[in-house]
């Protein structure tokens, strides 16, 4: 019922979509996978009307259509569930749900708020979310926002007579295991009404949910796989164009850490809000993974170590020395490096070059009396671009124009080149494609070999299990359980889930 025929899209000299054919049948769930830069997001933007193709046809029920903007696509029943953070925080939940579609609730130009709240409750019920529709969105958790996002798209059910096509862009990246299950259940239920296009980097999820999977590479569709006709490895092979190491998490390279060198010690640290009496120790060469649901306090603990948050009580020691007045600057001086989750907001400075980004945390080293030696900076950047195999025209390239994986490599290089030996990695592989993920995993092992201690908040439980020496399970801001993860004695996902919930 929805079909793309021979779609081409170019940006300047870049051929982003090459003659793409794509179709979705009624009630079908179609997976869309590919590495970053393979053209997935461009294709999605064409589907929901944000981009107009240079050539080719968009057909709905066999009739050619053209969308000048997302609004027109929406009117034809095409809706998009964005990744986290696409709700407007200062509006209420119900306003977000009906944003751009509020006309039905106005009487003589004024809103009938009660009617809107009623309708919003109905939408929220569809996604089994029990929040006050009048509450401001800024107070919701990530997972709740994701469900509101879905509820918002599901308003198309009432608005549109015909079939719906709903795009899900990385919908599971901020969800807990349970929430993912709920989401999948919902999606399956809804197939009687809508078709779905499901985009994710988590291959297992795509395999589980999709009826068919489109595999993209370099702007073209390279394979279409029906359910059960292929394996994760095979698809990944097609996507990446190279074979994936069986040793995905480089487990063979996991060596015992040095229990004598204590890099970070938290002693009964409490923070305003949710963190209560958290104690932990990070040793040299150790990968310590914090596991927990959204809001369990993983990020807050990392930010405490980095000095961005000050504990109400308890003490923080970096390399044995107690921290008196925590600031990021102080932490950086002690060798702490922080790879934040919001890479584009906190990780890199878009608009600055690669070398400027790399030395941002360590300008003092490249300056005498405040005057920068840019020659040395550039040399450093060239060296690390090579070492990390960052794909960029030169060290003068604007970081904002790099792909996600390369941006992450710049962030990692920034800290590694500065000699940081306490690394805080908050979802370091979020949104990265497989190739880039593996590069990150390799780097984690390299760092461990160098005696770097790593505190990690992993994207998935598998990643946590695969990478860690130690796993600390957090629940509601408190340490629930600690697992030893020496190879061979690693806990199972079931063990972790059991502790989390």
């Amino acid at each position: 019922m929805y079909e793309l025929k021979g779609i081409d899209k170019k940006f300047g000299g870049v051929h982003a979509l090459k003659h793409v054919d794509f179709h979705v049948k009624r009630g079908e769930i179609v997976g869309l996978v590919g590495e970053n830069g393979a053209g997935k997001s461009t294709l999605m933007k064409v589907i929901y009307g944000a981009y107009q193709p240079d050539s080719g046809q968009i057909l709905m029920d066999g009739k050619p259509v053209r969308f000048a903007n997302p609004r027109q696509a929406m009117d034809q029943g095409i809706g998009m569930v964005f990744q986290e953070q696409s709700l407007i925080p200062n509006l209420s939940v119900m306003e977000n749900i009906f944003l751009g579609n509020e006309k039905q609730f106005t009487r003589a130009g004024l809103f009938d708020w009660a009617k809107m709240a009623e309708a919003a409750r109905h939408q929220l019920a569809k996604v089994r979310l029990d929040v006050d529709p009048r509450a401001p969105t800024s107070g919701l958790s990530f997972a709740q926002r994701q469900l509101v996002e879905l509820a918002k798209v599901l308003t198309l059910e009432e608005r549109i007579e015909g079939d719906l096509v709903i795009l899900l862009d990385e919908p599971t990246s901020v969800l807990s295991e349970d929430e993912v299950k709920l989401l999948f259940k919902l999606v399956r239920e809804l197939t009687n009404r809508a078709s779905f296009i499901f985009v994710s980097h988590r291959m297992d999820e795509v395999m589980e949910l999709s009826d068919r999977i489109y595999v993209m590479k370099d702007g073209a569709v390279v394979d279409v796989v029906a359910r059960g006709q292929s394996t994760v490895e095979a698809i990944q092979h097609t996507m990446v164009g190279r074979s994936i190491d069986n040793e995905y998490y480089r487990e063979t390279r996991q060596k015992p850490f040095d229990p004598k060198t204590r890099l970070v010690e938290l002693d009964r640290v409490s923070l305003p809000g949710r963190i209560k009496d958290v104690s932990l120790t990070l040793h040299a060469g150790e990968v310590l993974c914090l596991v927990g649901t959204e809001g369990s306090g993983r990020e807050a603990i990392m930010r405490t170590v980095f000095g961005m948050l000050s504990p109400l009580s308890g003490s923080v020691r970096l390399k044995g020395e107690p921290v008196q007045r925590p600031t990021p600057r102080h932490a950086v001086e002690r060798g702490v490096g922080y790879v934040p989750r919001e890479r584009k907001v906190e990780g890199i400075v878009a608009g600055m070059t690669i070398y400027e980004n790399m030395t941002l945390s360590q300008m003092g080293r490249y300056a005498t009396a405040g005057v920068l030696g840019t020659g040395a900076e550039r040399r450093l950047a060239r060296d690390w671009i090579k070492r990390m195999s960052i794909k960029a025209p030169s060290e003068n390239a604007d970081c904002g124009n790099l792909s996600g994986g390369n941006q992450q490599k710049v962030v990692l290089s920034k800290w590694r080149s500065g000699g940081s030996d306490i690394m805080l990695l908050d979802h370091p592989t979020r949104g990265l494609d497989i190739g880039a993920k593996q590069d990150v995993y390799t780097m984690v092992r390299d760092m461990s070999d160098d005696g770097v201690g790593i505190i990690l908040a992993a994207d998935t439980l598998e990643e946590a299990i695969g990478l860690s020496h130690t796993i600390i399970v957090l629940k509601d801001g408190a340490v629930q359980k600690t697992f030893d993860c020496t190879p061979g004695r690693k806990p199972t996902m079931y063990d972790l889930l059991h502790a989390m919930l």
Binding site: R71, M74, P89, N90, L99, G100, L110, K152
Partner: protein, 322 residues
Amino acid sequence: MAKRLLTYENAVRWAPLLVLLALMLLFTAINPAFLTERNLARIAIAAAPALMVAVGVTFIIIMGSIDLSMEGSISLTAVLFCFAFVQFGGTLAAGAWLAVPLILLAGAGIGLVNGLVHVRLRIPSFMASLAIGFVCTGAAILVTGGDIVKIDDDVFRALLTWRILGFPLMVYVAALGVVVAWVILSHTRFGRHLYAVGGGEELAHASGVNVGRVRLVGFVLAGLFYAVAAILQVAKLGQAESVTGANFMFLSITSTVVGGVALWGGIGGAWNTLVGVLIVFVINNGMVVIGLPDYVQNGMLGVLVIIAVILSTDRRSISFVK
């Protein structure tokens, strides 16, 4: 769900009003003449035109933009209003009331041009509106040749002279303006879209909000309110000239921020602006009424404004300001 009254959020939300009350108490304590009906009416008269300007710019600030065109816009519409008023008979009893819709239209037109330059030419609103302000002031000079245009119509001037419950008519007009703005901002699609654009422009766009049009209408509405301000200003002074709009720019923007409207968009509303304008005018009036030396007044205003803004900022919700 038991609601606690003494939360941080509530303290921040009501801070501007508390500041206003505290200032009034302070001035009254020093000179009881401050809290008399006559003086409150004086403050209201002085504040009425400025209130309309501030309400106008509130629309713009809520969507995260800024408008600096008000001085020129008010000068031009005030001058044109006087010309039109005289042209149509010079008294409301004759056909001069026609000048009112005409000038509201003119104000909206200026806003439209402002919005078009900003949205279509993709020039940041700060620069676009600044330049449009120059053009409007220039146009006001051009049409007046520098002269004063007077309106001598007792019926029209009833806005200033006719009092109900001690307050002149123009105060009620301004109050009505605030109510209209409140209804628009809080209870209409367009108003909520302003908040949506201020809270996240790209997200609003992706939800099918026509951001360009919202911006455009926002500027038109602001222009409309500037025109109302111009008419009230003419009613207050009985004359217009090319400097009639002078001093409104910093005054109105400061007032909105003092009232708790965030300069980065998406937060605040018509009531905040009302309280903010009152704070600024109570300070201005109070400083003279308590006999503060004139050379201290500018500095004192600055200090009090900073204090008011500090108190009404929810510092937990923001990581930095610029």
